[in-house]
Symmetry: C2
Subunit: 330 residues, 2 copies
Amino acid sequence: MTFKFNNVYLNEVATIAGPYEKKGPLGKMFDKTYKDLYCTETSWERAEVRLLNDSMKMVLKKSDLKKEDINLVISGDLLNQISSSSYAVYDLKRPFLGIYSACATNVEALILGSSLISSKYINRCMCSVSSHNMSSEKQFRNPTEYGAPKPKTATFTSTGGASSIISNVKSDIKIESGTIGKVIDMSQNDPLDMGAVMAPAAADTIYQHLMDTKRDASYYDLILTGDLGLYGKEILKDYMLSEYKIDLTKNYNDCGVMLYDLLEQKEILAGGSGPVCSPLVLYTTVLEQMKQKKIKRVLMVATGALFNPNFVFQKENILSIAHAVSLEVI
Amino acid sequence: MTFKFNNVYLNEVATIAGPYEKKGPLGKMFDKTYKDLYCTETSWERAEVRLLNDSMKMVLKKSDLKKEDINLVISGDLLNQISSSSYAVYDLKRPFLGIYSACATNVEALILGSSLISSKYINRCMCSVSSHNMSSEKQFRNPTEYGAPKPKTATFTSTGGASSIISNVKSDIKIESGTIGKVIDMSQNDPLDMGAVMAPAAADTIYQHLMDTKRDASYYDLILTGDLGLYGKEILKDYMLSEYKIDLTKNYNDCGVMLYDLLEQKEILAGGSGPVCSPLVLYTTVLEQMKQKKIKRVLMVATGALFNPNFVFQKENILSIAHAVSLEVI
């Protein structure tokens, strides 16, 4: 299911990041960083709310807009009942739609916001997501104090908040189309190998997008997955070639790999993950290259593992989904 | 923020309910009921997935549609990471958007689906929600085996799954408009008094809807809140009168109160709650009265408490939101 958008533009972005992201290769490109994971707060949950709320205020400031100028806020995150979003959005006092697609949430927000702008229901929308390494570890895995070792396929939940303003006001970057993915089950059930869980969802959505738009993969200067990590990235390339005869060796990368220096930052293991991982890359280095017209067409394919610890304990498979959005320099 | 919809109709609904709902006054109106809370499954989580998946299959069957006829599924629920929705939607193999507005989720789904149909992005959408008394109690409160007593203001999470098919194909019931609410904080922090938490959100959204549409409350034959319960209902009436000079004494009711026989079913306390509570009432007795043209205009105002146990333990206020959708007999 691919939606084509008319007159929808990415106007401004804001990225707030934590200490691990600051140490990575994009560290200097974020609008604001925190030097520790508490981000001046007293709990991991409050730290995540701050990161998200910071990004909302920052994107308004960078846009020289007041909160009243925003017609709608669409936001989601990994915390149970997307609480970071509810608490962060409160002081904007704007109409709010909560969404959830795990780490694919930012693209779900962009697709929904773009649909509503393109159809003239709204003029301007804020799309926001967050994640926090420790609030996620606390919720999804063992207490980190146990120091349980992890396999090399494990990913590291990125810490940060990211917001964008999209509208019908022309800018350099057009949001051209979006593809909504389907839930995929490939009988994977290892929560420490999300790349393998999510790669088939990315493949399904990329293929669907290319079919719907009658495009070849080479149409895009860059096809970017959200957080497959080092191993998931290889699985996707293999799978695309064997299943769909599509070659991703030339114009494909993964945000989870790009956000960190994986040779230096050993604790990151296979790469970053979490809803904020992909916008921290898309809204910094990728957007910069687009503005400089080094690359003109980008397909952002965010992947999400639909994963709740109870279901994993009960031996259910981990499901996945991917949504894609096409951005073009005009 | 109120959206007006063109050519969007409620075509078919399906309601699946648990044993407590079966014993209530609407018990004979549901498409299917289960006599115990396990619903033939071995866990509360799997039981909830079954209820939701049953409603999806039932609404397709009642509509004489195949899953391929559905362009998009929008679904949400109370389980962490809306897992009931992800698992229930899997075998439909259709594009899926996950959403979350707590017990206001069904109206968020109807608004998003209607916007996408009205703007011709899609022709037909399935909107689904579920909740399950025990999967919710397990997740949000004390283990029920503790037998902790509850105050009379507490509500009882309803058990069931509900799905609707909305499309551009004409039916008796038009989805006329929808209002997206704002996050409200009235400094409430008692998770056993959700009516008080959510009543101000309902008030804010009803007022916004009436302002946006330039209507008087008497325009509607019925204004229906989702799950304020016995006490929340009185708070809303008082608050609407004192804050906005709007009289709700003549045409207002609450689904949480209507779903059960509160005099007989003492365990329900102040009334039903959960995302499925409002559609179990809207899609049965209310829709029946609309089809018989006893009532012609209904404003469904679903309310949600934006509530995560961690935030409550950390002494945060419980936030709330309400979304409204206007249904009209044509």
